[in-house]
Amino acid sequence: MDKVGIISYGAHIPRFRIKTEEIAKAWGKDPITISKGLGINEKSVPSPDQDVATISVEAARAALKRININPQEIGAIYVGSESHPYAVKPTGTIVGEAIRATPLLMVADYEFACKAATAGIQTCMSLVKADMIKYGMAIGSDTSQAAPGDALEYAASAGGAAFIIGNQNIIASINDTCSYTTDTPDFWRREGKKYPAHGGRFTGTPAYFKHITNNAKNLMEKLDTKPQDYKYAIFHQPNGKFPVRVAKMLGFSIEQIQQGLLCPNIGNTYSGATMLGLASVLDVAKPGDRIFLTSYGSGAGSDAFDITVTQNIKKLKKNNAPLVSELIENKKYVDYSTYAKYRDLLYYD
């Protein structure tokens, strides 16, 4: 396999937060039961001025600030999200224009619930390997929706990360990737609907756990690796509990997943979730560290990646853009009524 990998990355998380307790209080639920049950303390909330386009642009610019490349050499941008601002009109065009990568640019918006962005990484990898582009940018970004009062409301949050894929000056080489896809209706949002619907516990065993464990096992079998071979592991994190359980099921330790487990403090950023987890790991990773990443998208599918950090990570100007931990710490709490206003929960037809 020709070398291909990440040459830079950037992240963005809106600074507003709402505590699980505050949401529970609004609905007359027991905050401790819910917070413990979901493993979520608080989640990020986008302001009225933020959407998937602005978050994607912030993340893309952060990635570009850390390296010295000509944005005109970016040949493709794929934005994965389930909250693209337009139903018809790609977010990728806005991002491309904002980072000056237009007009000789392939763009498409991706949607595959929470794994659209890792599908974008796979596309960029293929184009780079085929020598069709020099650099490709895969972005995962969401301002995810949850119906007021739904269990999803405690998790659905906002954030995103951008990865520039190429074959020169790679900071983390993507050694291999594979996917696992079935028609499994565990979570969906129909055309024109404001909020998604889900199958309750059906989103667990036959959906999240089945797809992640099968895909992860397939990749490790293909590469003849075992969980102990990896310094870090990142699993999709719809709540704080599932990734811990799936890690245990596969034989990964809490220490391996800790750095990439952001959900307890920012919620589920959907398409941004595993991408932000990877960004958080790259913030601290050292040359030679091996990373195992497995995303999950309802509907359903999973993309798994085997990644090795290279010496080049030392040259990356990480401090030119905020680290994920800094984005998480830069926060301001809102109450439920402010949250309701920001998230447009008070609308009527």
Partner: protein
């Protein structure tokens, strides 16, 4: 009227069975019952099946034909009957099958019960359960099964000093039993704290006071009692069958802490069998909520009215008590796939009377009773059975 015996039983696992469809479930239960009975398919004269709301849960009607077809009997062209009386559909199907054999019209019938509830989201399941209430006077105004059982529980607490803890102890007991039942949806004992701490549904009933949403099916084979030994060494005779109804809406009743439908159906079954409540060794009752089991043991005459709560404290109804109730785990722990429930109750009693209940076997169980309720006491079916 001829005597009728149960000669075969079959049941699926109950639970959130995402990889099994309505037709898979009933075909599995039916096949198990047929194998257990030793009959051959071509001996079947008719199929009865209880299903509360396949139309709403899976968008399918014409259930009788579906069940015959899915079970591989379409070539027999036998009569198939779907029976509905809310969550008493299974018990009522059993009674219809019984009557058809007792009358001499049929010799061998299979009676099944089935529900596939988890293909719809929770709120749709709740709405469908509420179709067992009076839609025009109750459900339309937002009433639910939980709300009405909660009113009954509150009244019972007020009138008889029944406590919240006594209600919870019903769930504790049934979970302890369900832990011993390989087919139960929730095979784990639950401490009372877990019941009391679970989210409130309608005061005083919390989530753990209520039966879950379940998929599952059960089936039994009936034949004239005088032919039963030809098929099985351990037939179980149906010695009493009762059915009664009441007002559909709760507000139409003089009393809400007594289900007259249960009282009357039990009277009918006791009269026919010549048995009295104290003759019963083991009972499966309709504990869709914990309060329902307390009402049931009172209305069936096991316990004096108003003393159901303290009977739980005295452990009269535990597995090693004087009258073990819901040894299967009941609807609470075993699961409550509406149409399947009445048949599953019969399966448990037959298992007990055969002496095949392993760890949850009631010693010297000779006579057993089932009580299956539709809606909030709007209909009730009671059967009394005896080992042959």
């Amino acid at each position: 009227m001829r005597d009728v015996a149960v000669i075969g039983i079959g049941i699926t696992k109950f639970g959130e069975l995402w990889d099994k469809s309505f037709r898979n479930l009933i075909a599995e239960a039916g096949a198990k019952a047929i194998i257990d009975s030793g009959i051959s398919g071509k001996e079947l004269n008719a199929i009865y099946v209880g299903s509360m709301s396949a139309g709403r849960f899976i968008g399918q009607e014409n259930i009788g034909t579906l069940v015959s077809d899915a079970s591989g009997f379409s070539h027999l062209h036998i009569p198939t009957v779907r029976v509905e009386s809310a969550d008493a559909s299974g018990g009522l199907a059993f009674r219809q099958g019984y009557l058809s054999v007792a009358s001499g019209m049929n010799d061998i019938v299979v009676v099944g019960g089935v529900e596939k509830m988890t293909d719809v989201i929770g709120i749709e399941a709740t709405d469908t359960l509420a179709t067992g209430l009076d839609q025009e006077w109750e459900a339309f105004f937002g009433s639910t099964l939980a709300a009405e059982y909660a009113m009954i529980a509150t009244k019972h607490m007020h009138d008889y000093n029944t406590t919240r803890e006594q209600l919870a102890q019903v769930a504790v007991k049934n979970h302890a039993n369900g832990a011993l039942n390989p087919n139960a949806q929730y095979r784990r004992a639950m401490p009372i704290e877990s019941i009391l701490r679970s989210p409130m549904e309608a005061y005083p009933l919390s989530m753990m006071d209520s039966a879950p949403v379940s998929d599952g099916a059960a089936a039994v084979i009936l034949c004239p009692a005088d032919k039963a030994k030809k098929y099985t060494k351990k037939p179980v005779k149906i010695i009493g069958s009762g059915q009664a109804s009441d007002t559909l809406a709760l507000h139409g009743r003089k009393k809400i802490c007594t289900f007259e439908s249960t009282v009357k159906a039990a009277e009918m079954a006791y009269r026919q069998s010549g048995k009295k409540p104290s003759d019963i060794n083991v009972a499966e009752v309709h504990d869709c909520y914990t309060i329902s089991e307390i009402l049931a043991i009172e209305d069936l005459g096991f316990i004096k009215k108003g003393e159901g709560g303290s009977a739980i404290d005295k452990k009269i109804t535990t597995l090693d008590g004087k009258l073990p109730v819901n040894t299967s785990g009941g609807l609470k722990s075993k699961g409550h796939p509406l149409g399947a429930t009445g048949i599953a109750q019969v399966v448990e009693i037959v298992t007990q009377l055969r002496g095949d209940a392993d760890q949850r076997q009631v010693k010297n169980a000779k006579i057993g009773l089932t009580q299956n309720v539709g809606g909030v006491g709007a209909s009730c079916v009671v059967h009394i059975m005896e080992g042959m």
